[in-house]
Symmetry: C2
Subunit: 340 residues, 2 copies
Amino acid sequence: MAETPGVVRITDVAALAGVSPSTVSKALNDTGSLRPATRARVREAAERLGFVPDAQARSLSARRSFTVGLLSTDSAGRFSLPVVLGAENALVGGQISALLATARHDAVREQHHVRSLVARRVDGIIVTGRTTDARPPIQVPMPVVYAFSPSQDPRDASVVPDDAAGMTALAAHLLSLGRRRVAYVGGRGDQAASTLRHAALAAALEERGGTLVGEPLFGEWSERWGRLAVDLVLGDHAPGDPLPVDAVVFASDQLARGGCDRLRDRGVRVPQDVAVTGYDDWDVMALASRPPLTTVDPQLDRLGQRAAELLLAAIDGDPAHGTELSPPRLVVRASTTGDA
Amino acid sequence: MAETPGVVRITDVAALAGVSPSTVSKALNDTGSLRPATRARVREAAERLGFVPDAQARSLSARRSFTVGLLSTDSAGRFSLPVVLGAENALVGGQISALLATARHDAVREQHHVRSLVARRVDGIIVTGRTTDARPPIQVPMPVVYAFSPSQDPRDASVVPDDAAGMTALAAHLLSLGRRRVAYVGGRGDQAASTLRHAALAAALEERGGTLVGEPLFGEWSERWGRLAVDLVLGDHAPGDPLPVDAVVFASDQLARGGCDRLRDRGVRVPQDVAVTGYDDWDVMALASRPPLTTVDPQLDRLGQRAAELLLAAIDGDPAHGTELSPPRLVVRASTTGDA
DNA sequence: GGAAACTAGGAATCCGTTTTCCTTACGGTA
DNA sequence: TACCGTAAGGAAAACGGATTCCTAGTTTCC
């Protein structure tokens, strides 16, 4: 029984193909000058043995680790998880492995992880976080791309969701349905996801002839606040009274779901009386809501994928600078159109 | 500008401490014979420079990569994510890094990831999945621990949630509140999470003098099915009629939340008329439900942590065999007690 | 038949830590 | 005083397998 059984080395491939290890290397990497027949023979031998070049040894010559770090400060992972998965997905295509490092919102822990990634000589790092608020950059001697949570340094490469585009799409959708008087309900007022979406909605409505009714409402990111906010919007409205709005735009699906529940409790029909929209396209909220929510899918997996692409380019010597916007997708459901 | 700036090598520490690299190694690893004063001086120098031994070089001598693979077949990550995070957390303590490999329920992709992990010479692999149903083992030349989804081979080391203990705790809780006639609503009938929980509930109730009313109801893991199942349990019950049950045990918080909504719609008070329990302690469901759900927290982070401990022991030459049960925790909220 | 072009093998290279082996110095004992 | 044992620390090899020069052998074309 050989030690580390099952591990195929380049010499094993060389033996099976009847050539030297260096020939195998050239055949598999499309370098040197070899007869096509030899190349094919080596390829077939490698295929048959399931040969995968040893990453450690490879990194010796290449002076690269073929590894990138995924540094996440979001332990819960509701937002960073899709980003991380999207990035990981894009990386495996390039024979790159992903080292996971979760710091659960703790600066000391994050510093520890950063040092660990540096010790592993990762080729680059993707940093992601809990919110779209800017975060302090990390100091490392390799390329970094910030995903979802941009760096505070505008010269760093960041990829963030294009919330303005999402809100503009929602506004256009509502106006196309004839809705004009729109209320906005945000989450925490100190977060960009609340304030930026409000500003974008206000601008989009104004430009197209809609009206943003009342001041924006900020609270917390919970269904409970969604319900409370509906009471604030409706005031002492009684069934039959004219409604102060014909649409409510919530800054998250969770808020919107709570809002729908409260509207129904108070006898307001969704969407006949008031159209409702959410944000995030979080299936367990958007689909379980009654009615299901028209919302915006920020396509975080694509965002993570894009971050990985930028990182790979940076590793190959072509670094990006500045913040790139990742496009969202409008998802229309019954809470605005009443279908189904 | 030195190349790879910021990277501190053992020679840098040696220079600062005025000793040779080998002395630094001995001082930091507590080997060889050195004067305590020398040891302390080296330690201080390493501390000051923030020296972290190069993992690649380290693995050369140690013939270990100090890396483990986290192989997940669950892309959505609702269940595997806490497991992965718990495991990763336990690993960083041991200076071990975690390579993330997500296979999104695709055998070809999984095989690809397995080969990649083998190529990286990981010291071990933690395999996790979407359900608690047993899965085929992977064939690799290093230790493996299966977390959440056990291996089909009973000789492999697996850690799974102790659903029977969770259901027993729920049954005892309900009986202590005077509930006797209990209905059970499961998710998909072909999954262990549905059937095993049903069997455990039936056994626990029978042993303690409760009654499981009617056949178990199986459907899908959605709020919608939770609502439908309530209709099946209540039949053509009208407000005022005697109720066929005084408690409904749902196999997930999602089901239970839907169930609560439907019960309220039909004028049945929770928990005064019917107590309701969920499973999973998924906060966005259990806390947002009206009323908040009494449920069972499977403590998946602890499960992942335990899997990591077992893996580290196996790497150190002390492998475990068989399936270990990870204990859950009963979480009591208003859906049974009516507080709040 | 000879020279150029091509093919493939041998051996050195890549990296920083660990570990083995050895030297030096010092103290104790004969 | 000479010799030996031991502590302390340095020098150099080992660790690992893919890659890449460099060179020798082989084919091909004129």
